[in-house]
Amino acid sequence: MSFRFSRSVYLQIFLTIALVVVLVFFLKLNTLSTEQHTKRVDILLKLNEVDAQLDQIALQLLTSSLVQYDVLVPLYEEIDQTTRNITDKNGANFGALTAEIDKAASEIHMQLIQKQELLEQMKTNAALVRNSLLYLPTLSNQLNDHPFRHVIEPHDLVLDMIGFNHLGSRSSRDSLLEKLLLVDRWVKNHPQDQLLKNFQKHIQFNLAVLQRLEQTQQIYLSIPSDSTLEELRTNYFNYYSTEVKASKRLSSNLLIACVFLGLFIIYILHRLEMSRRDVQKASDLLHDAIERLSEGFALYASDGKLRLVNSRWLELYGMSSQDEMPPTLGEFNSLEFGKVTTDDLEYDEATGLHQRLQKTITNRWLQVSDAPTSDGGIVCVRVDVTDFKKAEHQLRLLGRAVEQSPTSIVITDVDGQIEYVNPKFEQVTGYAETEVIGKNPRILKSGYTCHSDYESLWDQLMSGEEWRGTFYNQKKDGSYYWESASISPIRDKLGSITNFIAVKEDITQQKLSHDELQAAAAVFEATQEGIMTTDPELKITAVNSAFTTITGYSEEDVLGKSPAILSSGKHDRQFYVEMWKILQKEGRWSSEVWNKRKNGEIYPQWLSISVIYDDEENVSQYVAVITDMTERKKHEEQIHNQAYYDSLTELPNRVLLMDRIVHDLKLADRNNYLSSLLFIDLDRFKRVNDTMGHEVGDKLLIQVADRLRCLVRSTDTISRFGGDEFVILLSNISGENHAALVAEKIIKSLKEPFNIEGFEIFTGASVGISMSPADSGEALELLRLADMAMYKAKESGRNQYHFFTQSMQEKVHRRVYLEQKLRIAIDQQEIQTFYQPIVCTQMGKVYGVEALARWFDAEEGNVSPAEFIPVAEESGLIAQLGEMVLEKSCLDIKNLEFNGSPLHLSVNVSSRQYDLGFSAEKLRAILERTGFEATRLSLELTESILLEDDKNILKWLHDFTDMGVRLSIDDFGTGYSSLSYLKRFPISILKIDQAFIADLIQNKESSLIPTIVSMADSMGMDVIAEGVEVESQLKALSDLQCTYVQGFYYSKPLSKQELHSWLSKALCS
């Protein structure tokens, strides 16, 4: 082991070294790149090029063939750049390659700088030469008339200058110097001759500069840039070829290193493969060994991961493949369904391990032994001990059976000597085991059993057969008893008899009770009560004939079945749970129960159940006694229905409704839901009753009830509240919308005609709705509010529904209050009568007045008619009030006239007065009492009365017109602006509501007044416009041929006295 370990360390070290060597070779090799070489060669070429360019420009300068020097600017930049490339010590190109290269590089750099400087000097000097040459001809021209011309011709001198300058000819130079000597001499002799002096100076200057230029040129040419460049190149290429050689050497070294490395890796791989095979072989061996184990085997590593498991293990845990096996021990242990482990740990002394037993899902018992391995893992072994376990169980069971057997057991040898008796034997006979062992069972003999019987017993036994029979035996205490016995031989494996076993039972008690049972059976069959017995598992074991009579099920139908076949389904689970609870506690239970007969009929019965326990207090059977209660029940129901249901419609009555509401409100409170009460009042029911008789009325109510039943859910309650009132309780609804929807459906449904005895009867309904808990949580209050809402609905016209609102409540309070006040006011004559003039615009005279009731209360002040008239109508006080106003106004107006014409009087009559008994007779009596002429009177009615399409109303109206009284429609246009129905009534005046007049000026185009006026005209009716306040309205009305006008424009309602003075004023104006 240690040898192997150290060897692998050596291998690692060797491998690392090899890698480092390869890397070093590689890196060294990398320093030489072709790209860089190319770049360097480029630079060298560039140096050559710029040097050549410099030389070329120098040449051009010297030959004056360069007219401008811009070309030098980029060239200098290029030189700067290129020299930077070779001199920069840190640069990538020529940075510190070899000392020779560096030296040559800095040399060429210096030389190029020097060349540039020389070039600059050339430029400066060339300019001077050029310019002096340019000036010389001018100067020589100035010498045209100069005496010096006689010495030499200046032009010749200039020509020599040019020749020397440009052609550099030696002859020109000699000639020039010769001539210049003459000039010098002249100037020396003529120091005042400025002209020639100047000429001389310029020539000398030119020559001096020329000389400088020549010197510069010489220096320039002496710069060995070519050879320096050559040196640089040579140095570099030397360097390069050395590098190439070195790199070649490196490459071969690298190759060798790689080959070594490769070989080495192959060797390692080979060794690895060998090891792997060894391991595989060992592993296969191990697997094979484990597979061959008859025990389940699993190995877990220290991290709890499953390493090995054999198929026996999988089989034991009911797994079909290893995939089902959890990958870790933790998961396996948490795998509940697979096994049940016994809690107790058993310490096995033989192995020194803690062992447990485990029961698997396949019902196998496993001995569990888990042992830790040296590397911290766990090795688990499972041994299947199911068969041991079974055998052990069986043995234990057998032993216990014999020991605890309720029958006596006696085992003898072949000679009849007792070898074993069980405790029951001891108990029955009174003999202890020790007393009888080795004895013959004959000790029990009573002497009553014949000897021959014993002989046949022995014969049978010896022939190997079983014997059965009864003994009449004697106990130890001398008492006798009956026992039935079965004696059989016990054989060994070879089939020879080794023992006899006698199984005996004391049947004394059975013999005695046999007679009693026979008597009980007779009772069972004879009784009128149905009797059913079941075993503890509730399988029916017996029924009597009365049971068959009551339920219709015969004994064959029900035996072995569950009593559940009788269940009606009327009782919930809770009911039966309660029943069982009592049965278990008290052993008996009785109650009224609804059950189902065989024919499906559900019937009530009185059921008594008793539990019969055996001697050990275990339930042995249940006995049920059934009494049919159908008849009694019928009586009870009838009584109940009479108390809670309306006998006519069979709907719940007021009492039951209240009960239901109270119950529902409680539930609603607990379960937090909404409920609603719909108070329904039939319209015109009274009239149906009155005109067609109660029988028809009753039938109508029945049909109404039927229709209502169709409109609500079964959980809602419809009740006949009394008379023509129905109340519906909508329980657990989503909101007001639900209630509104139901109300709409009710109204729609009840609007349809009813067919009763061939008549089509129309009624209708007004519905008031209150909501719980929003409006109230109290039953009576909820009902009252719904009632109130219903009245509101009725008020707003027929076939309406209305929700209760808070303002309704306040209004009711106010009405009650006003009603009390009004009653007193009427009694004490506090109601005053005022008069508003009606003017005929065409004739310009006062036509008449309208009488109006006015009420001034000490506390309330002026109470508006709009408020107290409805109160009066509702309370019925309108009858008294109406007649009072009529009589008073007749008296007041009787003697009034305008310009000779007696004034007409208009008095309002409420439609309620019709109900309250106001009639033509009453009017006649008043007219007679007051002496007012009927023809001067018109009664103002509201449109609503005309809606009652009723012959009685028509007659009522005709009675008035027959007297000569005219009828007018008040507030025309506000309600039902159809003129057509007016034709049927004896109406002669229409009073247009003031709303139309107010609207007339603003919406002249859309005004209805022209239509009303023209229609009224065509029907021969007069039109009075009410509420005229301004002149423009008056003007517009006159344009429309509306003759009669009433309103503030003329006068407000006046008291009698005021009217008098107004009339006299009007007369004057």
Partner: protein, 315 residues
């Protein structure tokens, strides 16, 4: 005899003249990064480049004028007087070297000069970089262009790039050069002829009409001896750079492109009129006197050299 002389002259000096003028048109330098130009433009005007935040490049190189100062000699920080007349930055991209004495080869290296000169901006790169770095906006602009942000080299690069963009194009003379023969008047053309005939062209040639060589101030007559003003260190010219006797009083030949817009002339700003300058040049550089008529004609020619640049009318 004279005719032979003339013929030879024509042959010698005009051979190339027929084919090629010694002055070439100014063209815009292409390939410049616009972001750098914009940044350089703002830096050119940034007073933080001076010690006391009082001066910028623009202070002495007024781009709305001729890119130089309107004073004979510029004043730097603390109102200190400089030693030479400020040259124009216009067309400086075409100069072969920078400064009068050519001590900088490139515009980039030129920037450091005024920055460190105690009588110009009087500061140093460390201070300038610090000041600019505290300005987040500037920092962002630098970061957008240069990976290493604000550095002396980047400041110089931006300013130099901007300066390269300052080329005055479309002068009338350039129009004439590119074929519009009516672009110049007869007088101007005559001036050009004289310019060449006198030999001015020997030094003032190329795109910039100068700026591409050195010349000695006082070639033929001793300018400094006759100037009646003591010789200063600045008067030594390129000698200050090389230390060579032959470089004494050697200066970069200035461009004549915007000479007509100049208020003062020569490195010492000693001349205040263009015609005067032409006469001084003839006397000291050519060793001859020039008539006022000829000087006027040459002046007319010089005026035709000035082109335009948007910066000139930018503010």
């Amino acid at each position: 005899m004279r005719s032979i002389l003339t013929l030879i002259y024509l042959l010698l000096f005009s051979t190339h003249g027929f084919a090629q003028e010694p002055i070439t048109p100014l063209v815009k330098i292409t390939g410049l990064n616009p972001a750098k130009i914009a940044l350089g433009s703002s830096l050119f005007r940034d007073v933080r480049l001076s010690k006391d935040n009082s001066k910028s490049c623009f202070s002495c190189h007024d781009l709305t004028d001729n890119g130089a100062d309107s004073e004979p000699v510029s004043r730097g920080v603390n109102n200190l007087l400089g030693s030479v007349k400020s040259p124009t930055v216009y067309n400086s991209g075409y100069n072969f070297v920078q400064f009068w004495d050519g001590r900088s080869r490139t515009l980039e290296s030129q920037v450091s000069g005024p920055i460190h000169n105690p009588v110009e901006l009087g500061t140093n790169w460390i201070e300038v970089v610090q000041k600019l770095s505290s300005d987040p906006v500037k920092e962002k602009r630098f970061d957008d262009i240069y990976p290493d942000g604000i550095t002396a080299a980047n400041i110089a690069d931006a300013i130099a790039t901007f300066e390269r963009s300052l080329v005055t194009t479309s002068s009338r003379f350039d129009q004439w050069l590119t074929g519009d023969k009516n672009a110049l008047t007869e007088r101007e053309l005559e001036g050009y002829r004289l310019f060449k005939g006198y030999g001015c062209i020997s030094c003032h040639q190329g795109k910039n009409v100068g700026g591409n060589m050195y010349a000695r101030m006082g070639n033929i007559r001793d300018y400094f001896a006759e100037r009646e003003k003591p010789v200063t260190k600045a008067d030594l010219g390129r000698f200050n750079v090389t230390g060579r006797e032959s470089d004494r009083h050697l200066f970069k030949v200035p461009s004549l492109r915007l000479a007509s817009l100049q208020k003062y002339f020569f490195h010492d700003g000693s001349e205040s009129s263009l015609q005067g300058a032409i006469k001084v040049m003839a006397r000291y550089q050519l060793g001859r006197e020039i008539s006022s008529d000829d000087a006027e004609l040459i002046e007319a020619f010089i005026r035709s050299l000035a082109g335009a640049h948007p910066e000139m009318v930018a503010e």
